[in-house]
Amino acid sequence: MYGVKQLFVPATVKEALEWLHQNPQAKVIAGGTDLLLKMRNQAMREVVLVSLHKLKELEGIEILPDGTLRIGAMVTFTQVNRSSLVREKLPFLAEAAVTMGGPQIQNVATIGGNLCNGAVSADSAPSLLALEARLVLENREGTREVSLEDFYLGPGRVDLKEDELLTAIKIPLPRHNKWGGYYYKYSMRRAMDISTLGCAVVCAVEAGGQVSQARIALGTAAPTPIRCRQAEALVAGRFLSPDLLIRIGETAAGEAKPRSSWRASKEFRLELIKELTARTLVQAYQNAGGEYRDEN
């Protein structure tokens, strides 16, 4: 049914990279929740698989000496959600993790697979973009780091070479003492659904209540997940107000490039971008300790 030709289960990253180098046509399998679907739909046949399941180096969540949070590529969404480190340092990310799929999927789907798959609807992408996460990519020749933003090349395309592995995601922790984040997943169902729109905002708040800085990211709003820098610029140093929120939403909508499909029209998606960018910003602001009375 799945047409697996060969399965290789390396014990170390080194072994995996060597093998990938020798077998560039091989496919990496992590949780398999994207890959197996493609195989079942016969988008691929006679597949040679390299499993990452035994690679201890790809597991775990820790704080590195330079203060960044490292999440191994094989960490599952459930693990992100349950990690006390994530809950303490990035509570909104822990919550965002369980907006994807359902419990069964969260238990096997990895954060690395979510990013490498390159889907514009990937639920981890907006939050990680807003956090300015960087990806650690390795092949036999060495290691490189790219920002998540640069990793996305186009629809379904990522900057990942055939012989490369994503080994970890590095997240610089926000240094501001009053900061907060929020991820708003908008989908038709409460579980087992892809997002029609995903919006993440990380924002820092001054003692006086102004937003000192906000980072706004959208999923399923353009060919790849995007940052909305113009909207971000608009909010920096400002107090939130109904007027500002409307302008933020409109600016974000201007930066996005949604398209019409049978799943949703462009008109609808633009309305959602306007509404949800503003809502997410307010929520992130409140999570940062900011006080804003929302008329809703």
């Binding site: 049914m1 047409g3 016969q42 359902g102 908008y186 038709m188 169902r189 409460r190 579980a191 087992m192 659904d193 892809i194 049978w262 799943r263 949703a264 029209s265 008109e267 609808f268 309305e271 959602l272 509404e275 949800l276 809502r279 008329e295 809703n296």
Partner: protein
């Protein structure tokens, strides 16, 4: 009378085997040498097949048969699983030289593995001569449109009727409202897809193990499609993973049978989910025009309805669904003047056919939305407006299809009003202010619905009870358990009437070799029809046993009665002997040995109405278009409830189905190519566990005089009024009329924006 089993929640007879995974569904049957069937599906929506070359496919190692239209009997048959005569058109061949929708069967393969069968499909070469693709009824009915089925002008069926003088009625009205409503293509989403296993037994009889709601009609239709007599065919229905009308039909069994006949081998043909959602069955999408005349005081005087139903590429149950809509149309709100026009149209889309409520969901969405729109224009409370116009106790069906001898509608409305706190909420929600982004609303809808298939089809059920020597029993049913609890309630009836325990009864259903005839699991008829047959058989059985006991005790049967498993002396109440011991003594008896086997049938020329109402409280997010259901109240008059837990379960499932219809589900078709966009459960938005709202179920127990225990229908009704109740709650919340289902966030948001921006 006090019952021991009837009216009680008892564990399902299949509970343990199901939760332990031992219950066998079709695909669990494995046979030595079994092959796997696969169907080649058309990549175009409308075409003649000019050439098929199966040479390469046949040459693939492991392939045992490849069949095309040239290999099957050229006999058109009707796929609708009703009794003879066919209720719909004979327009289907097992395989044809024309394809009529994208996904239509072109050829079939039987091979040693699924993978080989799939590979073989790719090796079949087909040349198509493409024809214009007609997706909408408008296109199909246009002058000069190409005919999908020759000689039909793309009309699958058409009828009209009227009473009084509808135009005069409109003229006499103070106010006339005419509106159009649209309903989407819905699909059943049974957990188990269409699947059958066919093989030849040692006498070369064709055995069909299949997931069906209609074992006997399936056998009859197969005997016609394959030109075999019924003795040559044995149909076995094992556990079935849901049907909802999609399996009240002969969808793929004849094709599988040909694979078996060609190879002589068992063949398993199991649809994938993606295949099921294109090549299974759907609920008809409809366009419904309603026009109603009312007096200033809100009394309805005249009503007309015109419906266009899109039946897709083949009739399936086709126009029979529109007949059913017509029959329910005039009875819910009887008016002196009414008229109805219905047409079912062939198009190049997946086949629409029977689905839970058989047209009533479409009718009810239109009618109950229309009622709220009318009430709004009249400035009346929608509940009061219904009270004024709905069918009353004792009132006759103007068309005479249904009987109204047990009436609970008024009480359902009253109960819903009270439980939902209707009056207060109508006032407070309206007063809450227009500026809120999240708006609350409360709405309701109600229905009346059939209990049998009469007089659309003959009505008959039968049952056989055979007492084992030790007083346990086997119950043979023709009526199909498909998950709804049929076997359990029938066993409850046997236990009740014969005087043995529920655990003493083994149910066999359905095997056409041993079980008695039944027309099938549809029309919400089983407990009413088969329940009565089982009761009759059980009473016969008890009488035979009492008869024998009377001989044992040298008395006459009239002096005895059965109480709680004992045969007692009627006068003194003294327990004489248990039922079971009596049966034992009869079987092992030198003097007058005897058996107890009772058969009974029940034929009815009667169709009682069930009633119900749904109340819905919602919150509409006007910024995102989302409709959140805060709570639903689902209230039903299904006569007496025979098993409360099963009844409530039936309501839960129906409510979710109705909720999907109202808010999220729709099969989407590319208007140009006829391709189905969302034939998978990711893109077809059926609710998940997380989407289930708070739900309160209540029953208004009337007593139906013609039911075995006062019972009437509950199988289909719970899905009927949910969508319009939600829709009416949204109207209450936003003041915007949504006349097309489902109320997807996109539809809601864009229309709300338009309403605000003008």
């Amino acid at each position: 009378m006090k019952h021991q089993y009837v009216g009680k929640t008892v564990p399902r007879v299949d509970a343990v085997s199901k939760v332990t995974g031992k219950a066998r569904f079709v695909a669990d049957f494995q046979m030595p040498g079994m092959l796997y069937g696969k169907v080649l599906r058309s990549p175009v929506a409308h075409a003649r097949i000019k050439r098929i070359d199966t040479g390469k496919a046949k040459a693939l190692p492991g392939v045992k048969a490849v069949i095309t239209w040239e290999d099957v009997p050229r006999i058109p048959y009707c796929t609708a699983g009703h009794p003879y005569p066919d209720s719909s058109r004979r327009d289907t061949y097992i395989l044809d030289n024309k394809v009529r929708f994208m996904g239509d069967a072109v050829a079939a393969v039987a091979a040693e593995t699924r993978e080989i069968a799939e590979d073989a499909l790719k090796l079949i070469e087909v040349e198509y001569e493409e024809l214009p693709v007609l997706v909408s009824p408008e296109e199909a009915l246009a002058e000069g449109a190409v005919e999908i089925h020759e000689g039909t002008k793309n009309i699958c069926g058409q009828h009209q009727f009227a009473q009084g003088d509808v135009e005069a009625g409109f003229a006499a009205s103070d106010y006339v409202l005419e509106e159009e409503f649209r309903t989407p293509i819905i699909t059943h989403c049974s957990l188990e897809t269409h699947v059958s296993l066919t093989y030849l037994d040692e006498n070369d009889r064709l055995v069909v193990i299949t997931s069906t709601q209609v074992p006997f009609n399936l056998r009859r239709i197969m005997s016609q499609a394959l030109e075999m007599n019924m003795k040559q065919i044995r149909v076995i229905k094992p556990h079935v993973g849901g049907g909802f009308g999609g399996k009240a039909e002969v969808v793929q069994e004849p094709l599988n049978a040909v694979l078996t006949l060609k190879t002589g081998k068992p063949v398993l043909l199991e649809y994938t989910r993606e295949e099921e959602m294109v090549a299974g069955r759907t609920r008809h999408s409809t366009v419904i025009k309603l026009k109603t005349g009312v007096t200033k005081e809100g009394r309805m005087l005249a009503q007309s309805m015109k419906i266009i139903s899109n039946t897709g590429a083949y009739a399936g149950h086709g126009h029979a669904v529109v007949y059913s809509i017509g029959s329910h149309f005039a009875v819910h709100y009887p008016v002196p003047h009414f008229s109805f026009e219905g047409i079912s149209v062939y198009t190049n889309i997946p086949v629409a056919s029977a689905m839970r409520s058989y047209g009533a969901s479409q009718l009810n969405f239109a009618m109950e939305s229309h009622m709220d729109n009318l009430a709004r224009k009249l400035n009346m409370d929608p509940l009061e407006f219904r009270r004024l116009n709905a069918i009353k106790e004792g009132e006759k069906d103007p068309m005479g299809y249904f009987v109204n001898n047990s009436y609970g509608l008024a009480e359902c409305l009253a109960k819903g009003e009270e439980l939902s706190n209707w009056k207060t909420k109508r006032e407070t929600f309206a007063a809450a202010g227009a500026n809120q982004k999240r708006k609350k609303g409360i709405g309701m809808a109600c229905y009346c619905y059939e209990t049998t298939a009469y007089c659309g089809a003959e009505e008959m059920s039968a049952a056989i009870i055979r007492m084992n020597e030790d007083g346990t029993a086997v119950l043979y049913l023709g009526s199909a358990e498909i998950g709804q609890g049929n076997d359990t309630v029938m066993a409850q009836i046997v236990a009740e009437e014969v005087g043995i325990g529920l655990e003493d009864i083994h149910v066999i259903g359905v095997d056409t070799d041993v079980c008695p005839y039944d027309i099938g699991a549809y029309a919400s008829r089983q407990l009413y029809m088969c329940g009565m047959a089982v009761k009759k058989a059980a009473v016969k059985c008890r009488e035979m046993i009492v008869d024998f006991a009377a001989q044992l005790f040298d008395t006459i049967p009239a002096n005895l009665e059965v109480r709680q498993g004992w045969i007692c002396d009627k006068l003194s109440g003294n327990r004489l002997i248990t039922v079971k011991e009596t049966v034992w003594k009869a079987h092992y008896n030198m003097d007058r040995p005897r058996t107890f086997v009772a058969e009974a049938y029940h034929g009815a020329k009667c169709n009682p109405l069930s009633y119900g109402a749904v109340f819905a409280e919602v919150e509409v997010d006007t910024g995102t278009g989302k409709v959140d259901i805060i709570k639903l109240w689902s209230i039903h008059d299904c006569g007496k409830v025979v098993n409360p837990q099963l009844a409530e379960g039936q309501v839960h499932g129906g409510v979710l189905m109705g909720m999907g219809f109202g808010l999220s589900e729709q099969l989407l078709i590319d208007p140009q190519t006829g391709r189905t966009y969302n034939n998978n459960l990711l893109d077809y938005k059926m609710a998940t566990m997380m989407d289930i709202p708070e739900l309160e179920v209540a029953f208004v127990e009337t007593s139906e005089p013609s039911g075995a225990y006062g019972n009437k229908s509950l199988g289909e009704p719970p899905c009927i009024s949910v969508a319009p109740a939600i829709r009416n709650a949204v109207l209450n919340a936003t003041g915007v009329e949504f006349n097309e289902a489902p109320l997807t966030p996109e539809r809601v948001l864009l229309k709300l924006k338009k309403a605000v921006n003008g």
